[in-house]
Amino acid sequence: MSDTAEQGRTSWSNADLGIPDSGPARFESAHELRRGLAEIGYLADDGIAGVVYLADRLAKPVLVEGPAGTGKTQLAKSVAELSNSRLIRLQCYEGLDESKALYEWNYRKQLLRIQAAQISGGSDDGLRAASAAQTKDGAAWKHLEEDIFSEDFLLTRPLLEAIRADEPVVLLVDEVDRVELETEALLLEVLSEYQVSIPELGTVRATRLPMVFLTSNNTRELSEALKRRCLYLHIDYPGLEREREIVRTRVPGITDELADQVARIVQSLRTIELRKAPSVSETLDWARTLVLLGIESIDASGARDTLHILLKYQSDIERAAKELLSAGT
């Protein structure tokens, strides 16, 4: 433990002096990264690839924001796949606390351990015997305490697990805007120094710096402290070219012509003011449906029948049908 802690410490203080030291680079260059991601089916644009590359070099977490369904979570998964890392995911929700995010003592097992010690020690009654043991034989109690607060009784949760992992790890903290402001503070130590303090065990430092992605749907403003520690990446809806490519790579068996049509219609839909604009994942669902239905070219009636896959509100569907499919521009 002390050996690994030493390493962690070194890299950290180097970063403090302004000398970037993030271990061996995972990716050659932003360009390489982009190509690699494309090979496993994630089409990044220059911005995405650039920021991810930078995050690796600077050993900083990436805060990813953007509309729902634009591939924020998928980005983390794909990066993990590309760099042969294990993906550890922490799904955030309201009420998440440190026993769910960092670690927890397995108190049931601890209780059992104490009881087992009492039985083997020959004492008859539970609590009284324990306190008696404490006064009578301090050494035995100390031994027991050290025993029950050892790693055997520690339940690691995603954050600690990511820090302690020996293999390369990508940590995904999903929908970080759902936790309360106070819980956000929990993340700060982990994200800026890649360490976790456990009072009974001491500080655990990362042996290998994990790559960290945080995603947010922007339901609330994240704290300045958190933002300061992260690189910021905003993923918006893709442009026509990129969307067409995404449809082509992610939907098997689609013709180029249909992919083009799908992308163009979705782009048009996004220019209309809708309650919920179609996201990339909905585009893909739509394209898959069209392929399944054997539609090779979208006409007005085909579009009207399948529009409910793209749009999720009745008022949106009506408006889109009116704008897009009725005559006269």
Binding site: L231, A300, G328
Partner: protein, 487 residues
């Protein structure tokens, strides 16, 4: 390069972006890892380290384009410009008679391109939009700026005027029409079918997005020349625009209002989340004995974790009373948007609008997905004029109290929106006092600058004493602060 970065960070701070020292250091660090010749790479690196909010991205982008514009052009190994030149030459071959010439950058230009007649330029534009060729579009932008912008060196302007002058002369709408007609014609002649509505719409959208690209490249072309003329720092001072949250609602332009609307939505969601969370996290309910005992079984009968019942949440009722008279017209639009956003989040929102009469408009917001729809219906149908259509807060309040006063209970919060300019009518402030005695909270949001309060016919002070808080609310930032202080 580090000096350059410091200058850039200073500039961002001047435009109101909060850039901390750590972020500055990160950016400096990041510059070790990017290829500085690649402008886009640099932009994303700086963006990721310096800008932490999407609404600030536009301001950052503008500043970046200007600040790093000149350096790009004078730098060696400038492939982008060379490419453009190559395009220019290619264009010359394919469009004989088009007088080519590069723009007069840094005073060494080879002629102003004025040899090209407007007709030729229009033809070139038409071809460029039709083919969607980015090189040709860039060329059109350059020539159009040469020909039409009428730029005068040394003038301390931001280029908006030049931009509109160029656009006016290009007649982009006409080009779009011509393209659409041609498309219809080809479709009809090739396979006998007319274009379907869907095809037509897609075609039009494609052309429109190309036209947008052209507008953008004209704008950046003008900016580049202005930078060459006056230097980046001077230009940045002229083009500095407020961030969305700093726009003055009373004097917002239509574009700015649109930006506001976008920014308003998350804010109302935030307000809803905050209030909802407060409700859920009120003190815990009574002990749930059964659940506690059951849970204790796993710890050998020791109740380690007591379990509590969830408290019964009390739903807040909100009464929004908004002045929509002419003196606060643009603020009224903003408030109606705000009301719409609030009412889509809360079940119990009652909204009222008044000028000198008052009417309940809750029904217009119910089930309306589109705020613009609701606003239109309110303007058309709400009965808000009593005598002459000048604000009369006194009368509106009295009527409100008579008709709906009984429904204001201790659970209700009242949100007043208006400038309290009463046209010297009676204030009837006692009504507000009475309402305050009954309601849980009374807040007043005033869109006027605080310095004007109480001047002329403003009687905000008379009302203010009966409110828990009177808040100046001219920008989203102020509204956000108000929401933040609500706890």
């Amino acid at each position: 390069m580090l000096d350059l970065l410091s200058g850039f960070v200073m500039e961002l701070r001047q435009s109101g972006l909060p850039v901390s020292l750590t972020e500055h250091l990160d950016a400096a660090d990041a510059m070790h890892h990017v290829n500085l010749d690649d402008r886009d790479e640099l932009k994303y690196a700086l963006g990721a380290t310096l800008v932490k909010s999407n609404s600030h991205w536009r301001a950052f982008e503008t500043a970046f384009e200007i600040y790093f514009a000149l350096r790009r052009d004078s730098g060696p190994g400038d492939t982008q410009i060379e490419n453009l030149e190559a395009w220019g030459e290619a264009g010359e071959k394919s469009f004989p008679g088009a007088g080519m010439g590069l723009p007069g950058q840094q005073g060494t230009g080879r002629g102003g391109g004025s040899g090209m007649t407007p007709q030729e330029l229009a033809e070139l534009l038409y071809q460029a939009i039709r083919s969607g060729n980015s090189g040709m579009l860039a060329m059109v932008a350059r020539h159009a700026v040469d020909r039409f912008s009428g730029m005068e060196p040394g003038r301390p302007v931001g280029g908006t005027y030049y931009f509109y002058r160029t656009l006016r002369n290009l007649d982009l709408e006409g080009v779009l029409q011509r393209l659409m007609e041609e498309a219809r014609h080809t479709a009809a002649s090739s396979d006998g079918d007319a274009l379907t509505a869907l095809e037509e719409r897609l075609m039009a959208d494609a052309y429109k997005s190309r036209l947008d690209d052209l507008r953008k490249s004209i704008e950046s072309e003008i900016r580049r020349r202005l930078v060459a003329d006056r230097g980046a720092e001077a230009l940045l001072r002229s083009v500095r625009t407020p961030l969305p949250e700093d726009i003055d609602v009373m004097h917002a332009t239509r574009d700015e209002l649109k930006a506001l609307q976008v920014a308003l939505h998350p804010l109302s969601r935030k307000l809803a989340v905050r209030l909802a969370r407060k409700r859920r996290h009120q003190r815990r309910g009574p002990l749930d004995f059964r659940a506690t005992v059951r849970r204790s079984l796993s710890t050998g009968g020791v109740p380690v974790e007591p379990k509590f019942r969830h408290p019964h949440p009390s739903k807040p009722e909100i009464f929004v009373v908004a002045d929509i008279s002419g003196s606060v017209a643009s603020f009224a639009r903003f408030t109606l948007l705000l009301v719409h956003a609030i009412s889509s989040q809360f079940s119990k929102v009652r909204s009222f609008v008044f000028v000198d009469g008052i009417d309940e408009v809750t029904r217009f917001f119910e089930g309306a997905d589109d705020p613009a729809d609701a606003v239109r219906r309110i303007n058309a149908e709400a009965d808000v004029v009593w005598v002459d259509g000048h604000s009369d807060y006194g009368h509106a309040l009295t009527v409100f109290n008579d008709r709906w006063g009984d429904e204001v209970t201790s659970k209700a919060s009242i949100l007043m929106l208006g400038d309290a300019r009463n046209n010297y009518h009676a204030s009837q402030a006692w009504v507000l006092a009475e309402l305050q005695a009954r309601a849980r909270h009374v807040y007043w949001l005033n869109p006027e600058p605080m310095a004007y309060w109480g001047s002329g016919d403003s009687i905000i002070d008379e009302y203010g004493v009966h409110c828990e808080a009177v808040v100046e609310c001219r920008t989203l930032r102020q509204l956000e602060r108000f929401v933040g202080d609500l706890e």
